[in-house]
């Protein structure tokens, strides 16, 4: 087993396009790290550099205590699961899993033992003789994971492995991946653009944007205390509402003249300066007699079954409120929202960084 350490890793493509801009990251041995971000944020490139499928323009990648910058993918002691599975179409499921081991000269009975074991864990024993085309998407996904497991690698790399599956299967496979990783205890790095996968799978969540890391933390840290406006709006669904506001004084901001109390606010912000006020749709309550309130005009309501989303405007800006169904009458046109001071997130409009307590 081994952890993975990245030190100011850069990827510069021809034409001076910088896809990864100096990423440093430590991934502890045995942990499940998820890289999440919108497409083009460099998360896949970073993963492929760890795998050895892309050259590293600058910086170092360590697997365990070994620098692997110049090591061939096969010698990095990693296994990768691809988005389209990348199973060898002409080989049986058994051969797909055995191929890597054969190439390394593993003895035949050892190969058989490992493949059978992996097939048992993944419940694909009945399909060992089949070709990949005779399998369903979920089964192919399992074979791809089996191919990774039999290698007994130091690190598992997953490149959006669930995005080709339908919604139901995705949830099921997500749980299985998590369970499998727990059982095997292998360090895993998982790339996805799906924040639900990111939140549910990770021990360590890395939010990326524009080739840089925006925030690293546990899923709940990232959700509760987003470090930048990007993270605040990327993690959470529906996304956090961002309202333009003004600093009124210590622990006090205003939005369109309505004053809100704030617990997590940096000291020494000059009164009158512009600030961005972030509120999660699920963190505001309709009604109540709190001292911090906002007035909202409702435009329309979306039904989600258990909850309802009220879309409208607060102080001229788009705003969404999430409430349990029945809590607010669906034909409500004007809402008074009470805001808990602990749920207000403040961001610098210039740098987009969080303006919380240091």
């Amino acid at each position: 087993m081994a952890g993975v350490t990245l030190d100011t890793v850069r990827k510069i493509y021809a034409g001076n396009v910088e896809a990864v801009k100096g990423v440093s990251l430590g991934i502890e041995d045995g942990s499940f790290c998820v890289l999440v971000g919108p497409s083009g944020c460099g998360k896949s490139t970073l993963l492929r550099m760890i795998a050895g499928l892309e050259t590293i323009s600058d910086g170092t990648v360590n697997i365990g205590d070994r620098v692997v910058n110049e090591v061939e993918p096969a010698d990095r002691d990693i296994a990768m699961v691809f988005q389209n599975y990348a199973l060898y179409p002409h080989m049986s499921v058994y051969d797909n899993m055995a191929y890597g081991l054969r190439n390394r000269g593993t003895p035949k009975d050892e190969i058989e033992k490992r493949v059978k074991e992996a097939a048992r864990i993944l419940a694909i024993e009945p399909f060992l003789a089949r070709k990949p085309r005779a399998l369903s998407g979920g089964q192919r996904q399992r074979v791809a994971m089996g191919r990774a497991i039999v290698r007994k690698p130091q690190v598992f790399l997953f490149d959006e492995p669930l995005s080709n599956l339908d919604a139901k299967l995705r949830v099921q496979m997500r749980v299985e991946i998590k369970r499998l990783q727990r059982a095997l205890g292998v360090t895993s790095i998982y790339v996805t653009h799906d924040q639900v996968e990111a939140m549910t799978l990770s021990d360590k969540l890395v939010v990326m944007s524009g080739g840089q890391i925006e925030q690293v933390g546990t899923p709940s840290e990232v959700y509760r205390r987003p470090e930048t406006r990007f993270v605040a709006t990327f993690i959470g669904s529906p996304p956090m509402n961002i309202l333009p506001g003004k600093v009124e004084g210590p622990g006090r901001v205003s939005v369109g003249g309505q004053v809100l109390n704030v617990t997590d606010m940096r000291d020494g912000l000059p009164p009158g300066s512009a600030i961005e006020v972030g509120l999660r749709p699920e963190d505001v309550q309709a009604g109540g007699s709190s001292s911090s309130t906002l007035a909202m005009n409702v435009d329309f309501v979306e039904e989600l079954g258990a909850t309802q989303l009220f879309h409208g405007k607060v102080a001229g800006a788009e705003f969404i409120v999430q409430a349990s169904t029945g809590q607010i009458a669906a034909d409500t046109r004007k809402l008074t929202l009470s805001v808990d001071p602990g749920n207000v997130h403040l961001f610098d409009p210039e740098t987009t960084k969080r303006l919380g307590r240091v």
Partner: protein, 281 residues
Amino acid sequence: MVESRRYRNILAYFTLTVGIVVVAFPVYLAILASTFDAATIINGNMPLLPGDQAGVNYPRALFSGGRMAREPVSMMMVNSFIMAVGIAVGKILISILSAFAVVYFSFPLRKTAFWVIFITLMLPIEVRIYPTYKIVADLGLLDTYTGLIMPLIASATGTLLFRQFFMTIPDELLEASKIDGAGPFRFFKDTLIPLSMTTIAALFVIQFIYGWNQYLWPLLITTKGSMQTIVIGIKKMITTQDALTEWQIAMTTAVLAMVPPVLVVVFMQRLFVKGLVETEK
């Protein structure tokens, strides 16, 4: 509606039938002619039903040859077969390797290399016949199988075909191979070749027929009767100066010349249709 569809069907079948008759009749005529003796063919009143001379003509053509081309047709067929298989196999080998290089390796002037190969499409053997002849002659390869086969092996068509196919193979397959510890050669042998089987079969059919039908090149570089190919043999049999053309032997030879390509098409077609149906990436 129903009426007009039936009418159209009849028209379609009629057109197809006419087409088949037009294409098949000369072939039938050749087969027919191979079953008569010379006199029957020459007097111009050949019946439209097979005669009884097949038992005479075929053994004679196969094992002793005609009066003008003295070599037995069986030997010519062996020559043609060696040449056609040599060209087909050679072309496949060369083009699959060059496509592999052009698609999967980045080396200086890769694009140029590809375009140079591409341009040779415009230079068939007829255009470069003099320099090619000179080289083959200087290498002492006249009247050899190597001389017959080698100049015809270079194939832009094959390279292009394999290149297009390789480009449809997902990159992840290569990457998975890399992680599985397969180097370039292993990837080629274990993944690319098995996936290319249908393309290889298709190319083999095309190139076998191309090789089998070669006329100009073998005509130039073979002088010995024992190196003669069947296409040349037929030509020799029908151009006679002072004697009567032995049409029955020429036609028998023509029919025999058709057999191997037909077998290759029939046999390989099944293989690559099966492959086409099964392919899924």
